[in-house]
């Protein structure tokens, strides 16, 4: 059971944004962007060594103000993007190259602790007019393109494929003429990475980037009764996605039938700020909420993994009463170690059984899924 006690890492600053360093495939490493109006902000690169159970960090100062969103490049460990708000109180997006960064498989401890991390801005993703950026999305898989979504739902596509130089490819009209602000967005890894989902309050629209001004491919009116805070595509099943929102619900959708969600979980007591599929075992879904809880949910009935695998083993469940049978859809574990609202949660890119969650006070918790659950999924 000791493995289920979380690793706690405290930042001294408030923080909202967290993501795994996807480019790093061997070390469990997360990036955190701090959010402070008054002090110097920075990107914290936190590494967790499973064997020594030690957490090490490396800090990259972020001079352009408080960080609202941090996104790592899908396969280049040293490239990140942030959405930040500086002195001018305008939400902007910038792409950085981090240095120094340990080479793949090397621990962060190998970096010279006396040296200072540095973020070198590669591109500032400013559209011509004075629009505020709501979200930055990396093209899944190869990361050759970036999409920025402005708060009034304008979608901009930035192309990097040409020798690392940024080419502004497309500016769309705002998707929605109403005053509803963009609250969430994500890029589908399926369909040739041409689809982007944008949530404006309670409505969700999915557009094709090739015909972005011709309206949405499909949309879900009132997907939640309160604003949608996040959404995630099932990485392995192309028609499935999850949304979460202020109504405390996590909803799973089959986009071929949008009249009602295929699964609706109401396991949070307050707003749900983020929902994330496990890339390797998509029956595992994390959600984080302002009820200061992180909930690990099983969506086994919607998983790309056949049921048979899950059904094989009962003996582990017998000696671990905390874990419900992973066969059933529902809460596997609810983590309640946070004291404040949890705004972000991320699966590790290196170890599919490890995840981190970040609460407003700057507390980072690194958890591992229960061993019995892991066994019942694997064997």
């Amino acid at each position: 059971m000791e493995e289920e006690a979380p690793i706690i890492y405290g930042l001294d600053f408030q923080a909202r944004s967290l993501c795994a360093q996807y480019g790093e495939t061997e070390m469990v490493r997360f990036l955190i962007g701090t959010q402070s109006l008054k002090s110097e902000n920075s990107i914290h690169c936190v590494e967790y060594d499973e064997e020594s159970v030690l957490v090490s960090k490396f800090v990259y100062p972020h001079p352009l103000g408080e960080i609202w969103q941090t996104n790592a490049h899908p396969n280049q460990a040293d490239i990140i993007s942030t959405v930040h708000k500086g002195q001018n109180q305008k939400m902007s997006a910038t792409i950085y190259k981090m240095s120094p960064v340990p080479s793949n498989g090397q621990s962060i401890d190998t970096l010279d602790p006396t040296s200072h991390g540095q973020l070198k801005a590669i591109a500032s993703l400013e559209s011509s007019d004075e629009k505020e950026v709501a979200k930055v999305l990396w093209q899944p898989n190869d990361g050759n393109k970036v999409v920025t979504v402005s708060t009034d739902s304008q979608i901009n596509l930035w192309d990097f494929s040409n020798d690392g130089k940024v080419q502004n490819a497309i500016f769309s009209e705002p998707l929605c003429k109403t005053h509803n602000q963009v609250t969430a967005a994500n890029w589908s890894p399926h369909h040739g990475t041409n689809q982007v989902a944008v949530a404006m309050e309670t409505n969700l629209q999915v557009v094709d980037l090739r015909s972005v001004n011709k309206g949405s491919i499909y949309n879900i009116e009132n997907a939640h009764i309160e604003p949608i805070r996040d959404l995630d595509f099932n990485p392995n099943r192309q028609y499935y996605m999850a949304t979460c929102g202020d109504d405390g619900c996590v909803k799973f959708w089959d986009v071929r039938n949008l009249s009602s969600p295929v699964l609706n979980r109401h396991d949070h007591y307050h707003w749900v700020w983020q929902v994330r599929y496990n890339v390797f075992h998509d029956q595992l879904v994390l959600s984080a909420g302002s009820d200061a809880r992180v909930v690990l949910t099983s969506a086994a009935s919607l998983s790309s993994e056949p049921f048979g695998k899950l059904m094989s083993d009962d003996k582990d469940n017998d000696d671990d009463e905390d874990v419900r049978s992973p066969l059933a859809d529902g809460v596997i574990t609810a983590y309640e170690e946070h004291e404040d609202s949890v705004y972000s949660v991320a699966w590790s890119s290196a170890d599919s059984w490890t995840f981190a969650s970040l609460s407003y006070g700057g507390r980072l918790l690194i958890h591992r899924v229960p061993r019995s659950l892991k066994h019942s999924i694997l064997f």
Binding site: L37, Q181, I225, E226, H270, S341, Y360
Partner: protein
């Protein structure tokens, strides 16, 4: 000596005579002196007389004696004469008789002679007549034979005519008379003609009889007659029995077919069922009974095997009849079942049951047809009743949902809704009690009552429908869009669910136990304990309450969020009043409070000071503290550290959805979610100097008024503090207002 001897002889003779005549000797002394006595002694008498009497007396005596002697003499003479005369007469008579007998002897002799002569004559006559008599006997025999022959020759004609007249029994009688003769002399050419003729006619006759046997509308009497006649004609009883069985089977099957294609003529359902059962009894059942009875009548000596064939057939028919009855009854009674319908149905079933039992006795079968049939029907009916009940309830709930008026007072609505729900289940139960009515024969069966009461009514109707109800109530929460129920209705329904949990379910169960003979509180026999149902209602009420809290707080949070988004907090002007939205939120909360108070107990408050003046002082001192630390400015003290330190002293806010069924908890839950939402909105904004002051004013105002709704004001305080401190953190120029000014603004 001789004298003595004579004297002795004399005495001897006297003795003998006196013995013979029964005279006893009187040896009295006086008798010696009685002249008329036997022992009269003349000498002694004389002596005595001489001695005792005077002379005169003696002379008188002598004269008297002389007179007496003379009279006696004369008397003696007369007697002798008379006796003599009689003797003479007897002698004459004897002489005459002698001569008469002589004549009679002669006549007798003559008679003997005559008699012998007569005997001789008679003998001769009888010998003469002997020959004649033999001839006459022969003649009369021949006559008889001729008469029989005449009958035989006439037989075909007679048979034919009687067959034509349909007088089959006469025909058979004739044929039976002659059959043996014909059989014996069938070789003879003249008879063979007759025989073949007869045979031919009899074949026709047989055919006619069989036709009659087979004819559909034949009465059992006719049937019996034809069978009797046929058996007289030499049909084997086994084959007849077989044929009888087959024919009747056909007939019964036709009945069955008629019944299965029976359609009602759109009458009232109850009456239609009665009519159908009537038809069942009058056709199939009646005919089955009749068949068996007739069979027993006409084949009294039927072998066990034949009997078995028939019984098998009847059993088979009834075996098939029962499902037909079941299907039809269930079909006719339809889905809408009023109480009257049920009563008619039960009456109909009861009738069928009794008739079937009668038939069963005839069959000597111990099949459980009727009880199986009735149990099945009862089960179907009770299932249907339960489904109907659930449908009714669903409609009720939908009705309330669609026509809900938010002005409805929660308290009255609870009573109204509960009344309607109970009314429906009562009606259902009343309808079902028909099955266990006292006058119903089949319900006297203990097994049936038990199964019906426990399995069908208690489990099938009561438990099942209540479970469904609790699910329906819970499901109402999940509906979205146009099916969305009004929050007030949801609150009302949560109270309804609690009432079911606390007493309604139990009182309904008691009612059922009483009406359906279930021991009160009986738990065995795999019955679902009532606690399973009440637990579901508790669960449902919990879900509904949570849903209520969600919907109410959803509206409030939305108001707060919109108000936060619509203002530029960096450049807003100096606060002059509490924002209207905050006042609006308070109004809403007070409405929630009043609604909840109508339905729920207050709930336990944590010790709250009732002294509001002290409270005000307390809060202003808190405000003082706050402004003092904020005046230190962010540069002097790391705000996040401060935040963390503050966290150490405040409770972690429990937002978990568990809402206790009491007013305080409900209102508190709404307040918590609102304030937490407010907090989240604040954290998304950046504030200027006046922005934060506006938040300060709003928080103070909330603090002034929220305490009255909650039993845990510390929680409210800590949330409001957190809102303010988050706002401070999100503020570029965190300068708070003077508490006095804040109070002034709020009290304005």
């Amino acid at each position: 000596m001789s004298k003595e001897a004579t004297e002795n002889d004399k005495r001897k003779r006297n003795n003998l005579l006196s013995q013979y005549y029964g005279i006893t000797k009187e040896k009295d002394v006086e008798n010696l002196f009685d002249v008329d006595g036997k022992h009269f002694n003349a000498d002694a008498y004389v002596d005595k007389l001489v001695q005792e009497t005077s002379l005169k007396q003696l002379i008188d005596k002598e004269q008297e004696l002389v007179r007496e002697i003379q009279s006696l003499d004369s008397e003696m003479q007369t007697l002798v004469y008379e006796n003599y005369n009689k003797f003479i007469l007897a002698t004459d008579t004897i002489r005459q008789m002698k001569s008469d007998f002589k004549t009679m002897e002669d006549e007798m002799e003559k008679l003997v002679q005559d008699m012998s002569q007569i005997a001789t004559f008679a003998n001769s006559i009888s010998s003469n007549l002997q020959d004649r008599r033999q001839q006459i006997t022969k003649l009369s025999n021949i006559h008889e034979l001729l008469k029989n022959l005449q009958f035989l020759f006439d037989l075909p004609t007679k048979l034919k005519s009687s067959v034509e007249e349909k007088n089959y029994s006469l025909a058979v009688k004739y044929y039976a008379k002659s059959e043996q003769v014909l059989k014996d002399f069938g070789d003879h050419p003249s008879f063979s003609g007759i025989q073949s003729d007869c045979q031919e006619i009899v074949t026709t006759l047989r055919k006619c009889l069989k036709d009659q046997f087979v004819r559909a509308e034949v009465t059992s009497r006719e049937l019996e007659e034809s069978v009797t006649l046929l058996s007289k004609l030499g049909e084997s009883s086994t084959s007849l029995a077989l044929e009888f069985t087959v024919i009747n089977k056909g007939r019964l099957e036709k009945d069955l077919d008629d019944l299965s294609s029976y359609t009602t003529s759109g009458e009232n359902n109850g009456e239609a069922v009665l009519a159908f059962i009537e038809k069942c009894c009058n056709t199939a059942l009646n005919n089955a009974a009749l068949t068996i009875a007739t069979f027993n009548n006409i084949f009294p000596l039927a072998s066990a095997k034949d009997n078995e064939g028939l019984i098998d057939m009847a059993v088979d028919v009834i075996n098939r009849l029962c499902p037909v009855v079941k299907t039809k009854v269930v079909e006719i009674i339809g889905l809408e079942m009023s109480e009257g319908c049920c009563l008619s149905l039960v009456a109909a079933l009861d009738k069928f049951h009794r008739r079937l039992l009668a038939v069963q006795r005839l069959l000597m079968s111990d099949n459980q047809w009727s009880s199986i049939l009735i149990t099945d029907v009862a089960q179907i009916i009770s299932n249907r009743a339960a489904e109907n009940l659930v449908v009714k309830w669903t409609q009720e709930l939908q009705g309330w949902r669609d026509s809900w008026n938010n002005d409805n007072q929660p308290h009255g609505s609870v009573k109204f809704i509960e009344g309607a729900l109970i009314e429906h289940i009562h009606r259902t139960l009343v309808a079902l009690t028909a099955f266990v009515g006292n006058h119903v024969t089949f319900s006297q069966d203990y097994q049936f009552r038990q199964t019906f009461g426990r399995r069908h009514v208690r489990e099938g109707v009561f438990i099942m429908s209540l479970k469904k109800l609790s699910i329906m109530l819970s499901n109402l929460c999940n509906a979205t869009g146009k099916d969305n129920a009004s929050p007030t209705l949801i609150l009302v329904l949560s109270r309804v669910a609690i009432d079911f949990n606390q007493n309604l379910a139990q009182s309904l169960l008691s009612l059922i136990e009483e009406q359906f003979d279930i021991p009160a509180g009986f738990q065995g026999d795999n019955l679902t304990p009532i606690s399973a149902v009440t637990a579901e209602f508790r669960q449902a009420s919990q879900t509904l309450l949570q849903r209520y809290v969600q919907s109410e707080s959803h509206v409030l949070v939305q108001m707060i969020r919109k108000s936060m988004d619509s203002r530029d907090w960096l450049t807003t002007s100096e606060p002059r009043s509490v924002r209207p939205v905050i006042k609006r939120v308070l109004e809403e909360i007070s409405r929630v409070d009043s609604h909840a108070a109508q339905l729920y107990e207050e709930g336990s408050r944590k010790d709250r000071s009732s002294d509001s003046s002290r409270r005000t002082h307390h809060s202003s001192s808190r405000m003082q503290q706050k402004s003092s630390w904020s005046s230190l400015g962010p540069s002097q003290l790391d705000s996040s550290l401060l935040n963390n330190i503050q966290k150490l002293f405040s409770e972690r806010i429990d937002l978990s959805g568990t809402v206790e069924p009491n007013k305080g908890s409900v209102v508190m839950a709404v307040i918590k979610i609102c304030l937490k939402g407010f907090l989240e909105c604040v954290r998304l904004k950046t504030f200027g100097k006046y922005g934060i002051q506006q938040i300060q004013v709003d928080c103070y105002y909330l603090q002034l008024f929220l305490w009255r709704f909650t039993f845990d004001e510390n929680l409210v305080h800590s949330l409001l503090d957190e809102i303010l401190s988050s706002a401070v953190q999100r503020c570029l120029e965190p300068v708070l207002m003077e508490p006095g000014v804040v109070e002034l603004i709020c009290e304005r």
